[in-house]
Symmetry: none
Subunit: 205 residues, 4 copies
């Protein structure tokens, strides 16, 4: 009963991260002040520094955290099925699923590629690696047409992210479920998926 008194009682470090995430995606990292973060999180400005070394550290930790979470979900969903086509479909769905479930975290990850975060080194496995592996496997097994797996991953990820971007910014009003299915099947077309019946490259369905 003492475990959780009120909403204010949850870990300040968590509240700071949550507040920062919302501000970062709306105003950018540099465009967000520590004063704003503190106010939104309901803590003092100085408190931020009890949990993070600097604003940059906070931004970076947030990035790594959500990248890991995102990659983890992709991995988990892809691992739960067998076969390159099934894995790819699962990964596409998980991608959309994450963007739908945690839109702020998703937006932050996307922004990260184009801002200060981009230069932050990371030798950890990234979401894209999941796609590269699945496609590589599919190509080797003859399920997908012969193509560079990195290029295939670029195509698939590109389609997904732009579809989400178009939808988020109101340029596309296709219902969510339909968009997911269309993106998944379009990915199959790009990869020359042949349903396993005969050599890749034919793809009639």
């Amino acid at each position: 009963m003492e475990t959780q008194k009120s909403v204010k009682a949850i870990d300040p470090g968590e509240r700071i991260q949550s507040a920062a995430l919302g501000l970062f995606i709306r105003k950018g990292i540099t465009g967000t002040t520590t004063k704003e973060i503190a106010k939104k999180a309901g803590v003092s400005e100085g408190s931020i520094y009890n949990y993070f070394e600097s604003k940059g550290d906070l931004a970076y930790k947030l990035f790594v955290r959500y990248m890991d979470e995102f990659r983890g979900e992709l991995q988990e969903k892809a691992s739960s099925v067998t076969g390159p086509a099934e894995k790819l479909s699962a990964a596409v769905r998980a991608f959309f699923g994450f963007a739908e479930k945690e839109p702020d975290a998703y937006a932050y990850i996307m922004i990260g590629h184009y801002t200060e975060l981009r230069k932050m080194p990371d030798d950890k496995k990234k979401p894209r690696d999941i796609f590269v592996e699945i496609i590589g496997e599919g190509v080797r097994e003859g399920v997908f047409r012969g193509m560079d797996e990195n290029m295939g991953a670029a195509f698939v990820i590109g389609m997904i992210t732009r579809a989400i971007l178009f939808r988020t910014s109101g340029m596309l009003d296709t219902p969510y479920g339909e968009l997911v299915e269309e993106t998944a099947s379009s990915s199959m077309r790009v990869l020359g998926f042949n349903n396993g019946q005969h050599p890749a490259g034919t793809a009639e369905r």
Copy 2:
């Protein structure tokens, strides 16, 4: 013969824009100081304000300028051929062409979508509109499979931009020409291009 006395003689406004572009893509807009711009452009800090209202105005004008230029090239190339498939191919090539010829401008446009510039309203025609129109036309003519033209544009643009991003960041070493061709043909696959022989949706080639 008065057209170009020396490098210092060209329009200061031009030099300022050129300097700013390079700095903006490397350090971000907020991360770039007017002092740096002035120094790189070889003008005084105060001079910037004789040509632009503020740093934000400079950033915005740069964005609009290159967006226009980019869209213009896409338009021009697409208009020079006939038929949706040909137009689309031309647009895809022009997209890559612009990114190759003016990498800084291209990078700036891409970054713009995710930073301060994003909020800048624009009712002008954008690069994406070119794709939407071409695809819409192709769908109506039965050359492409039946699909939402905005979704199709999202897919195609997504493939192109990610392919360029992967290549630029060294994750993909496919030769330039080959990448262009692969992207163009993959776009056709996604759009269910049937070579004009029979109803879209079959796509064997």
Copy 3:
């Protein structure tokens, strides 16, 4: 046998003072944080305030404590012999002795004259008073030449402190014992000590 259980068992107030002394002389009072003191002393930051009113109070108490200790040693050594010359020699030796035995405390006292501590009023007897008294006595007894006792004290203390400073900072490599003797005899020269044979002040000039 309860006197000293473990190093952690000794009085926290003592540990705090010891930690503070080391930090103060290396980084200055303002340059030392309470967090550092607490860490080095092995206590919590808050604990400091159970023993001292403030950081300034801690700095001041340290200063007074060592000033007293220093003056006490000078006094004690000087009192143990008779005659101005002997007393002065003893005081000079005690001065060097203190600097050698408790270099941190000595350094802190020296620094104190030039920093925040300087303004702290003190009507207590100070080390310099020992010298003033001895010299005044010597002058009145005709053992030293006629001179202002305060001036004489300034000269003697100046020689001692600079000699120690030069030695501590590596500018002087005279062995310790020799330096003490040289300083003591040089003090005698300055004070015109005539070995008691004939009236002081002989040194015609």
Copy 4:
């Protein structure tokens, strides 16, 4: 006529240094805020940074400037006469002269030895070197008794600085001129100066 409009017209960099010097010696470097310096100098806080890289840089530049000036005066005065005894006397007088003419600069130099400045590396010639050279020369020429020149310098400088300190802090009311003469002649006593009549070292002990 335009050269000097008003007192406010003199170089802001100079006004900043002057204001900082006064504050630094009264409150210490860390104890002085940039806000105070700016206010006293009659400039904006930001202006300080048009002239100095940081508060530390300002403090350091001030230190070097006055050290150079001080050493220069000692050198100049010592060079204007011949013979070790005369040179030493001149140096002692110049030392007192500088402290009298520029008490703030003198105080700042003294404080510098005990604060942040102390760690600032300096391979330049320092005031003390003047004394070391003169004494070394005197010892070699037999004008002063045989002694380590560094030790001799420590004694002489110690006497001078303490005499000034005692006088400045009101512990000594000897008139200025007399104090200078007494310090000069006492220095001669310490160095065993024999008036040139017979070999140094005569002072049997």
